[in-house]
């Protein structure tokens, strides 16, 4: 196992950042931690990269205890924090040789590891890092995290705030690194990126809701899912929510994803309901649930909890309050 995490708990004051996290990552795996802000992804990365002590539980990375063996471990991990953390006043190549030097190596020695990524920013090697575009900063940060030939790579939200095209390119790079046998843990708030991972952990508010392959996550959805479309999107959304048999109704791009409470449900039943309401261009088809469908479904079953995570306040408003319907109990 490259990573073994058992019952990790971490509180930041009143906030229960991690509420008992357990999972494993095997060698050579590209493993995704998927979840929104506040899920605990960064806190978990801080613990695994020996920057933060857990309150409870234990964690091993590369077989080394993250507390007892932190010195050894630090030499062997590559870490790209969520916030740009290179030296803005140093040039591109100065940053790279700085990181190589503090790990007692040289850029030349491990150049082959970063060549694929670094050659894209090499034309700008004399430029100050602070003057790079977002996509170039990201490539430089990844190069700096790799230059000491780490055995495992931690990437904290590398694609947040990055446009859709650069995101694809970044995942293509990770795919090539994975082929080289490097174990990679990457966190992201973008659900569509889950499909690029071998396995993912869906996280929300300090808990892991599920660990599975992307295909396995889809199978966890557990109900027939239908895509409903109409030219009158907002009206359609309101009509579906008003349907007494609706179990869940969520927009996905120009489609509405719908599940029904009835055991004997057939799409024609919904079609005739919508026709009665004057929708004459409705299309309904059964679809395979995606990771986002499953995460929404798993989150909705948990929403009786206090959203702030501090049970002493006595506030019981779930994040779904007033949302009609999020998911009805069945």
């Amino acid at each position: 196992m490259s990573v073994t995490v058992k019952n990790i708990v971490k509180n930041h004051g009143d906030i229960r950042a991690l509420r008992g996290i357990t999972f494993e990552v095997t060698e050579g795996e590209l493993f995704g931690l998927i979840g929104p802000d506040g899920a605990g992804k960064t806190t978990l990365f801080h613990i695994l990269t020996t920057l933060l002590l857990p309150d409870e539980g234990d964690a091993h990375v590369l077989g080394i205890d993250v507390i007892a063996g932190f010195r050894n471990l630090r030499r062997r991990i590559g870490y790209m924090p969520g916030r740009f953390s290179l030296y803005p006043d140093l040039s591109v190549e100065e940053n790279l040789s700085f990181f190589a030097t503090i790990f007692n190596t040289t850029v030349e020695e491990n150049y082959h590891l970063i060549q694929d990524i670094y050659h894209q920013i090499e034309p700008f090697r004399k430029r100050r890092a602070g003057d790079l575009s977002g996509g170039m900063k990201q490539k430089l940060a990844l190069s700096c995290a790799l230059i000491h030939k780490p055995d495992i790579l931690f990437l904290d939200e590398p694609t947040t705030g990055v446009d859709a095209v650069s995101r694809r390119e970044f995942w293509d790079m990770l795919g090539r690194l994975r082929v080289s046998g490097l174990t990679i843990l990457v966190s992201t708030p973008y659900m569509d990126e889950a499909s690029r991972c071998d396995r993912v952990a869906l996280m929300d508010r300090g808990e892991i809701l599920s660990v599975n392959t992307p295909a396995g996550i889809s199978r966890e959805f557990g109900r027939p899912l239908y895509s409903v479309t109409s030219g009158r999107r907002y009206e359609l959304l309101k009509a579906l929510r008003a349907c007494t048999h609706a179990h869940s109704v969520f927009t996905f791009g120009d489609e509405v994803h719908y599940t029904d409470l009835r055991e004997d449900f057939r799409p024609e039943m919904l079609e005739s309901y919508l026709q009665q309401l004057g929708f004459d261009d409705v299309r309904i088809e059964q679809i395979t649930p995606g990771v986002e469908d499953t995460l929404i479904s798993l989150m909705s079953t948990q929403d009786t909890r206090d959203p702030i995570g501090d049970d002493n306040h006595g506030h019981k408003e779930g994040t779904n309050d007033g949302y009609n319907p999020a998911i009805k109990d069945s």
Binding site: P36, D37, S133, G161, D192, L237, G253, I308, Y323
Partner: protein
């Protein structure tokens, strides 16, 4: 200001902004209609932020013409600021003030009377389901609620247009959808919504979208129209085709 329902609320003709020898925005032209949800897309560095800064009266253009809510961006930037709402990715809320105090502050900034502020605040808190947290400090609220509140402060003065700059970054998928509901409702009441996002599925929710590439607007249309024109499955594919000249 008297705008009928067919009128454009934003009119832009050959708008250009040059910084030194770099043309950040290069002769863009488009119109946004009243009550429309208009998606303003583009890769990082394509010129979106510069364009938005000109449309919100924060940056004087180099050349071209633009009217926002009936006011010229060259001659009346201050009138534009009074008639628009703006919500940034970073949410300009005061962490040490309560929900109500933040609303009261922004109402005051926009020149609302104490009576109007009380009235509008009650209405917004009710509509956005925030009445229960009226007196809680912002720093104690979850991200999704801060986001709703940031939106409220941007529309408290009932602007003709609200500009939303990546409003949904980092929030969970349920909250993200609740936020889009809010935008639908807002547009339904006649307020124009001008929004940027990196989530391509959200582009599909817009009435029309424009895609900026290297300072120009290379595509503009309904999501369905763009899919058809570019032979693409979704707006994401259109975006990839345009932003990287067909590679990938």
């Amino acid at each position: 200001m008297n705008v009928n329902s067919n009128a454009s609320i934003i009119e832009v003709q050959d708008l250009t902004r040059v910084f030194g020898n770099f043309t950040a925005v290069d002769r863009i032209s488009f119109e946004v209609r009243r009550g429309e949800i208009f998606g303003f897309l583009g890769a990082n560095g394509a010129g979106k932020t510069t364009a938005i800064r000109m449309l919100t009266g924060l940056l004087i253009p180099t050349s071209g013409r633009a009217e926002v809510a009936g006011f010229d961006v060259f001659t009346h930037p201050e009138s534009i600021k009074k008639n628009i709402g703006y919500m940034s990715q970073k949410f300009s809320l005061f962490n040490d003030l309560t929900v109500f105090e933040n609303l009261r502050f922004y109402g005051g900034i926009y020149g609302l009377s104490t009576r109007d502020i009380r009235h509008k605040t009650d209405e917004l808190l009710e509509r956005l389901d925030l009445a229960g947290v009226r007196d809680r400090l912002i720093r104690d609220l979850p991200l999704g609620w801060k986001q709703k509140l940031a939106f409220s402060t941007a529309v408290i003065h009932e602007p003709a247009i609200v500009f939303l700059d990546e409003p949904t970054g980092g929030v969970d998928p349920i909250t993200r959808r609740q936020f889009w509901d809010l935008m639908y409702e807002t547009a339904d009441r006649g307020t124009t919504v001008f929004v940027t996002t990196h989530y391509m599925d959200e582009a599909e929710y817009c009435d029309r979208v424009s895609i900026m590439v290297d300072g120009r607007i290379d595509a503009l249309g309904t999501p369905a129209g763009l899919r058809k024109t570019y032979g693409a499955k979704n707006v994401d594919e259109v975006f990839v085709k345009l932003a990287r000249g067909g590679s990938v």
